[in-house]
Symmetry: D4
Subunit: 250 residues, 8 copies
């Protein structure tokens, strides 16, 4: 219930078209309506080019299609992002919308009805190893669907510094940097020491043995000796792309 | 803003004593006022004989006294429970209220302005070892301050079943049972198998080596093969007494 | 050996129909017979509409059917609950009893010979995300088979508070609440802050990376800053439904 | 060695003012000089009003004073931040600079030679419990010393939502939010669901038992179901204030 | 035996004061020969009816057969125990030896050329739940192949004490007890409190969620409040049967 | 209620000196009396020279004295073992009994009213490092007080095999071996490979860093590739001595 | 860009064959070129007989072939090592190079264009159990491809010391020793106590239950009481072979 | 040497075909004598300038002095290293030997009777932060006492790459490198990528929160993407210096 609706209700009471009792009843529903988070979410998402997100893992193609149809149905200009999807889901979604694009590296489907750029600068996504690219690409696609210019540099692990330093200019030009690394997870510390902008670190489950499914990289990143680093969950490329987008829109 | 206040406002609008604009402004503040959790909390606590609780650890005697004075100041019939306190804090609180009682075993201070019994049955607090008594007593005092009849049986660890079975009648008569145990944390499983009522299990940090500060007991209780067991945090006698009280008041 | 049997034996001794030696021998077997937990269990379960429970995971359909037949054979009015089952097991059980119902969301089979409501109030089962529904439904079916009125609200995660607040009335009317959540496991804290009744929290293994199979949610729930929360094992919807039932029957 | 310096050197070679051998020697030092991170750091810090930071824990007052004198000596307009300090260190530093201010809640000393505001918006620091204030204040002082307007709201834990919702306007007005919470660490998820800006989450070691020194809160925050949340190390108020500052300067 | 002793011995041989046979005997006690581990092992195993053990997991039927043939080839009266085997391995081994018996519950193959009883008393194997029987049976078969009389009682979990107490006589008569339990692992504590003999506890990986693959049961058993309990690895029924056998032969 | 008491009661009934009703009432109290674990414990301990054990840690000297007086009061021939004690407790206990001996290495007090040897063979206690001696001595004193001949060999860590092999004869002669080791905890595997008797392994918290308070040694011992090893809790010298005693009495 | 190239460039400038602007441009690329890690890597690898390494896990045969072709294409005398490969990948690589050899035990493919021995001594690879051989063989092949003489001794676990001591001469002759062990991971401590050369320890994931995927062995090795032991990741035979090679080339 | 060989040898002696001296020599090669660990250790240590090491933590000054006197007494040219010592222990040791030097940063006492350099090259010890210097210095002093030339570079953490690159020449000249780092432990990966020699990594317990006492750095180092890295225990500067010494002597 927004301001206009409240005014209308009050006018109805004043004009005695509505009883006080009925108005009380409606107003008691107001806290939620007034908080109106859903609507705010909705408006924000249209206004800012934000995509609705569907986490496809554990859902059937039919379920993903149903949810996507619901999202697209009401507002066709909307962007939709489907993460952790596969070829089968893509074929099903494709029938729904010709705009659907499949990014096989990250298993992401993007429907970009709105391709406006709302981010102020460039988001750079850096990945330490080739095995981290799937997670990095999830961040890339997420940031793109949310209206950002995105650059990426891959295979720039810290045991071969020259590969990273080769990209110093890209690092220097980025407004936000997403750093993706498995194994010892050292990339964010090195990158963050080279720049003055916020670095969003994504540990990946790449590794074996004492990597413990990404725990080693996660702990390393949380203990970064560089101060401009914050961290998201293991393999959470989507989250990093999302956080970077909220920063880049500021 | 409760129902009466909303009616009054609407009557004011209808009677044109209040402009629509002003009413809108007031109503927009409503969500919080209407949710009014603080008030509800407050009323509930007076109505049900619930105590306000002060966690004294890490606070100076002066701070505890200040908070307690605030709680008592407004409503003198109120019960106050101060957990993780010590002799020094008690002396300071004692000057504030002659009703303050110190329970040295559990380090708990109780001010019971209201000694009404609101619990329907008896809460039994069982502790496996003598070292678990501090935590058990915190549960006992909490449940008492919240208006319950409380019984306790201590040193009934499972390696000497006869000690526990000796108290079968108390077990059978309880409406809720709090089970406190460190080390292997097996007491709740055995007790819960003997009764049909809810058992609230409290792991304690009693033990050494692979007890890992109560982790062993906590995991054991979470994996209880008895189905009528739920668990609170390690050493959280207060929480167990509180949960048991909410159950016993039903 | 119950009271009647003991009287009979003593009469036999008094009437010298039985030697003292033989009576001593029989009485030495008494502790177990006297404790007679199995019978008590049995009576309790008939009297209170409690179901016998079969954990199907790791059992063949044949084994589940055999156990179920045993349970039903003796006492046909009995309720039986089979958890962690599947379509194949259901088909086999169905041949045994036409009353068998399969709840595919939770993989639960319920045979409800007795549909009496023995719970005093309503049990509300709240789940944070759509992926938590399987566990939530296990709690729902368990509580129903044990003779409770059950309501449920799903997809009310704390990152969209309005969805939860929309159901304030259901929260307010419940006598016991089961809160199911994976990921950060924050739902029980928020719900428990809104109500005065006991909240049984169920962490789920929903999530990835640093959720560590539900550990994150489990630890969060054990550390809830709301005092009326107790916790069961990860994914243990059955346990939560069972605990809630023991509370609701009080 | 920047472009101008290289040109000058080459002109010297061309003009035969400098031998090839000497030029080779100078150029071989170039990679480091050219990367020149130290200088960049240095310039950045003067230009952007960034403070140099001294981590005082484990250092003697004399050591802290010596480092601070070095930092202040070269460039008197500079800001210096000393974290994890105490009264004794403050007295020693105070003799060095009259500008030194001690923030006892967080154990932080700030010397603000430059009080320019370089942050574009307001940073809001929210803390769940009163025990989290020390960490929150470290974030506040850090962000202030780095040239930001900072607001704070404390004691807004999720088990009493009204306390948080009371501050909806502050939440809505912030450009970046730092969320500090111990125990179950649920505050960032709830806050992030109410806003569209980046939320930097700080788990604290507040709690006992299964909080495992802040691990419970850390895992909860990493698993937040809100997408605009990133996380720093346990009790790392400084890091959160720093990250928020790098974001707010964009 | 140092240089001087060896010289003295050799001088004795040279001077014919000592026979070669006696010198050999003394020299055979020299550390290495005396250690003579392989031979001692070998003799011990023939003399004591001990079986050689093959851990079949991860080996092909061909490999298992080859090893078994080697073991049987040299000494046909020998017992062989093959653990973690399956039907396919059994069929292959069966062709080698008609004496081979397959124990499908535990996946164990026993070839008992020697069925002498060398254990002094009875080993009792108790298992808490039906799902623990596979591990329990591995202990049973191991102890039998090693020449012990073995009894077993299953499904005597602590949440139904009467089931355990029903077997008091078996408990009282055992010379060594093996206790197998998953979930909360409480059985060894209860059993050990009822007897005065050594109890070997075997945690199993039976359970889910916070059982963490048997960790909960393992920690519980290590923290047993009964003093006559020692523990072997998770699911290590073989090890428990072996330890119990070494005890029972004393 | 023992056999004599039951006979007497039945004779009373037969002689009509006692009504059936009263006999029923008394017999209904029988389960516990008949189980009579306490008495059995008591008799066993007198008969077998077993000591009662007091865990002194966390108890005042007064409390320890009071408990000890109780134990000694009733039956003066009894042995008492007080673990985790100190000089102060010893002085207090010494006043109670001139027989009290303090073993400062292990912090153990022994009162040996009965010095009969009930163990059949020798228990050998082996410790890997000098820092493990405190725990080893606790095992030694426990086993001695429980009536065993005990030998010990210390500083026989596996990185200097010759030190261990020097004691081959002691290893060969032991009926039970207790192996105490911190750090990598390898001693039990090596020792158990040299003997055919049961080895009780005790991990100690000796070490630093990744020893994690004894966890490294504990896990190593649980995973021993020698089959005749079972394990007790970290630093639990008492438990190992107790288990070894129960074995040695067989 | 090495010294010669810089001199040539400067001579060109001096001789006015090259403009200052063009020289600046080339020199600005120098930091990276001068650091020139890639080239150094490249030269080193040719000069020292080092192999390029491809981690095949998670790559398709096509991808592995493409990378291998790239490596071989430029410099045909080069050695290539492909780890974690399988039969299918081998068949694909085999078509590329007739020199490719498949080591099925370790799943390693080696292409040895250069079979020069560059290691100064012999590397000994010792494995505790037969299940550790896969990891051990990875170390063997790695060290061979890197130009070392390699010996191996398998199945020398510490519970049968004689098997290890049988190989004393090989131990004594090795210049570097790689020790591979799962379960309790005790082998490196025992071996390192017998030699004075560096021992590289490799924990393996061999084991079950409380081996926790190799964690037990890893912790044991990190806590070795022998000082000449350092450790690589769980199952990292390649890393151990590589470290041993870098040592052996010194 | 088996029975036949011994007989043959003895027959040879008896028949005077073999001299006693030669027989003794052959017999001394018999496994145990040949193993002769203590003596070999002893000789090695004199011959190679190796120090005996005393771990002072948990020992009284008197105990340390007694052990040191024993070590020095027999062989005065010997080097002794005392780790984890303090000023008080130093004063006591100093009275024993004027050569004793105290290194307060690392708490190490060195008595260097023999200052010969036996290492072939230079050992470089690099430390990431100033707080890591204590551990680094332990490595430095250890390596020096063991006869090596040692260089050190401190405060070269990866978040300020220029500090590390400034020391490229030292890195290039080292024969072995010890890398000491706490927090995210990234230094070894970066350093190892710059050199071709073995890198011994030492995690330190420097850090807070999710560093978990050095676990984060330990895991990072074990997962290093550089292949020439091996790892020792947390804070084990001694071990790293020792391993580096064994390598440098090759």
């Amino acid at each position: 219930m927004d301001k206009q609706q409240i005014e209308k209700l009050l006018e109805g009471v004043r004009a005695r078209k509505m009883s006080v009792a009925r108005a009380v009843k409606q107003l008691r529903h107001m806290p939620y309506e007034d908080l109106g988070f859903a609507k705010i979410d909705h408006h924000r998402s249209l206004r800012q080019g934000f995509a609705e997100v569907v986490y496809a893992k554990g859902k059937t193609p039919q379920q993903v299609v149903a949810i996507t149809r619901g999202l697209l149905g009401a507002r066709t200009t909307h962007n939709v992002l489907i993460t952790r999807a596969n070829e089968g889901i893509f074929r099903a979604v494709r029938r729904l919308s010709r705009d659907a694009e499949f990014h096989p590296l990250s298993g992401t489907i993007a429907i970009r009805g709105n391709r406006d750029i709302v981010g102020k600068g460039t988001i750079l996504v850096a990945a330490a190893g080739t095995s981290d690219i799937a997670v990095a690409e999830e961040a890339v696609v997420t940031a793109e669907v949310m209206g950002n210019r995105v650059e990426s540099v891959y295979d720039v692990g810290v045991a071969g510094l020259h590969r990273l330093l080769h990209h110093r200019e890209k690092l220097a030009e980025a407004r936000v940097i997403v750093c993706v690394a498995g194994m010892e997870g050292a990339l964010p510390s090195v990158v963050a020491g080279l720049v003055a902008v916020p670095v969003v670190a994504v540990p990946t489950s790449v590794g074996y043995g004492a990597s413990f499914g990404g725990l080693a990289a996660l702990l390393a990143m949380l203990n970064s000796c560089a101060s401009n680093v914050s961290v998201v969950n293991i393999d959470n490329g989507f989250g990093a792309g999302y956080v970077a987008s909220t920063i880049n829109r500021l």
